[in-house]
């Protein structure tokens, strides 16, 4: 299985303006690999996840492609390549969500119905997806004990709620998992545990798309890193080289901001997505800026004229 995103662009119409949430994003993700999509809050990362799952609201315009190619190495429910962007809602609901793509959302407890037990959630999902596995078996795969399943969402600790969310995402045995900011608000130990989980999923042969602003977490699981800034991917590199030798000035700035490194913020602020310049959006904050930057740099591993 392979996910090929090609020139994905998402715009939102709001009164009096257009929000350029994602512009010309392209990347590939194969099974057995984890791609971390990182960037500041509000840079468009979550929009990407919603676009892939067809969960964007009515005032969004999407262009480009996101091909879901099956390959022979993993059994897949359907045999043809599917463009997630143009696929009709019926296809997305019946074939994609839960079956070909599993979503691990932010704040798992908030995504669970408060009046039903965890077991009820799992059972319902399994039933909807037409799976024969029992909730207990599914829960065991996610590291939950049968007694945990009888709890209601408010009785679950942060870690358990996360595991329930993982179980729900895995219920349909999807080859691609999208984890949307799964670590926000979690303690470090829990973050580490979540990353261990994602590593396990990747090692099982799934493809994992991790969307996060937490670089320390991404470092634990990513094989490849894509950095987003102002809606564009500005660097796309193997994890090892990214974390040791980031090329794009913004990427370098982001890593320097970590308390485990220089703890220095990136000066300035990100641009409003309603008023993006024609050239490189990072120019005002960039130490390497020259008039060359008035022209939009192309992404060639890194989108910068000076690197």
């Amino acid at each position: 299985m392979k996910l090929r995103v090609d020139g994905l662009t998402v715009r939102f119409r709001i009164p009096g303006a257009t929000v350029h949430a994602v512009t010309d994003a392209s990347f590939e993700l194969s099974e057995g690999r984890c791609l971390a999509l990182v960037g500041e809050s509000g840079c468009g990362k979550s929009v990407m996840a919603h676009a892939l799952l067809g969960l964007l609201p009515a005032n969004a315009t999407v262009t480009g492609h996101a091909w879901l190619d099956p390959t022979a190495t993993r059994t897949d429910s359907s045999g043809e390549a599917l463009d997630l962007i143009t696929a009709p809602e019926k296809t997305l609901a019946r074939q994609v969500r839960g079956r070909r793509i599993g979503l691990i959302p932010q704040s798992p407890a908030a995504h669970l119905t408060p009046v039903r037990t965890a077991r009820a959630h799992l059972a319902e999902t399994l039933r909807e997806l037409g799976r024969t596995e029992t909730p207990d078996a599914l829960a065991a795969r996610a590291g939950l004990r049968p007694e945990d399943l009888d709890r209601y969402p408010h009785q679950l600790s942060g870690g358990m709620a996360q595991r329930v969310a993982n179980a729900l995402a895995l219920a349909g045995d999807p080859p691609l998992i999208i984890a949307d900011e799964p670590t926000t608000g979690l303690d470090r130990p829990l973050v580490d545990a979540t990353m261990t989980e994602l590593r396990r999923l990747r090692d099982e042969g799934r493809a994992v798309l991790l969307i996060t602003h937490d670089l320390r977490a991404a470092e634990q699981v990513a094989d490849e890193v894509a950095v987003m800034y102002a809606g564009r991917i500005v660097e796309l590199a193997e994890a090892e080289s990214f974390f040791t030798r980031p090329r794009h000035p913004y990427a370098r700035g982001l890593l320097d901001a970590l308390p485990t490194r220089a703890f220095k913020p990136v000066p300035g602020r990100p641009p409003e997505l309603t008023r993006l310049p024609a050239g490189c959006a990072f120019q005002p904050r960039c130490p390497l800026a020259t008039p060359l930057c008035d022209e939009q740099p192309k992404l060639n591993g890194v989108a910068c004229h000076h690197v």
């Binding site: 960037g39 500041e40 809050s41 509000g42 942060g158 926000t184 608000g185 303690d187 470090r188 130990p189 602003h213 937490d214 670089l215 320390r216 700035g253 982001l254 901001a257 970590l258 308390p259 485990t260 703890f263 220095k264 913020p265 990136v266 602020r269 409003e272």
Partner: protein
Amino acid sequence: MSEPTSTLTVPDTRIQQAPGLEAEEITVSFGRHRVLDRVSIALRPGETLGLAGPSGCGKSTLARVLALLLRPSRGTVRMDGHPISRWRHRAPQRTRVALIFQQPRMAVDPRFTLEDVFTEPLRATRRPLDRAYELAEDLGLTRELFTRRPHEVSDGQLQRACVARALALEPAYLICDEMTTMLDASTQAHLVSRIEAYRERTGAAVLAISHDTELLDRWTDGNVHSWAAHRGI
């Protein structure tokens, strides 16, 4: 009665030094549930103290007690040597201590604009507003954000407004309760640097509460106390 949730002590020698913000043997119970059990902590002027511990062990409750927003069932709080006898809106010293919350969205009135948020303390105490605008700019808020409402800005921008609000009255004691948990690394680094600059300029004391030990180590230069946690639900 449930078992005590947490205890923390600090070496006694410090109590003898210059008075700051001290909490002694604080116990807080909500009904039968005891959230804090005989907790003591002292914050000295000019220092940055880190308090590390997992979420849910009572650190936020202690923060509220130190900010004079919650009256403890037992124990004493002393500010600059004087014991606190009145709490919340009745405490005249409440403006000397400011609290920054973990979730900026909950800490801001949804009907306020950002400008309202960071100018409110100066309005409430009838002081000129220039200081608020300087702070807002220093913390990275641009003019066009001033008229926006909380749901129209990101968490990072909202937290910047909250920090500006906290510093508006030049508090002598600043408590940052998981201030950066929702934020990305760059915003986090920026806010911490602004707070440290404030501390160096005014000699204020900062209590940084977080579960992120790497952050605390870096922020406080190793001056971190850990919260010996007992189990709590």
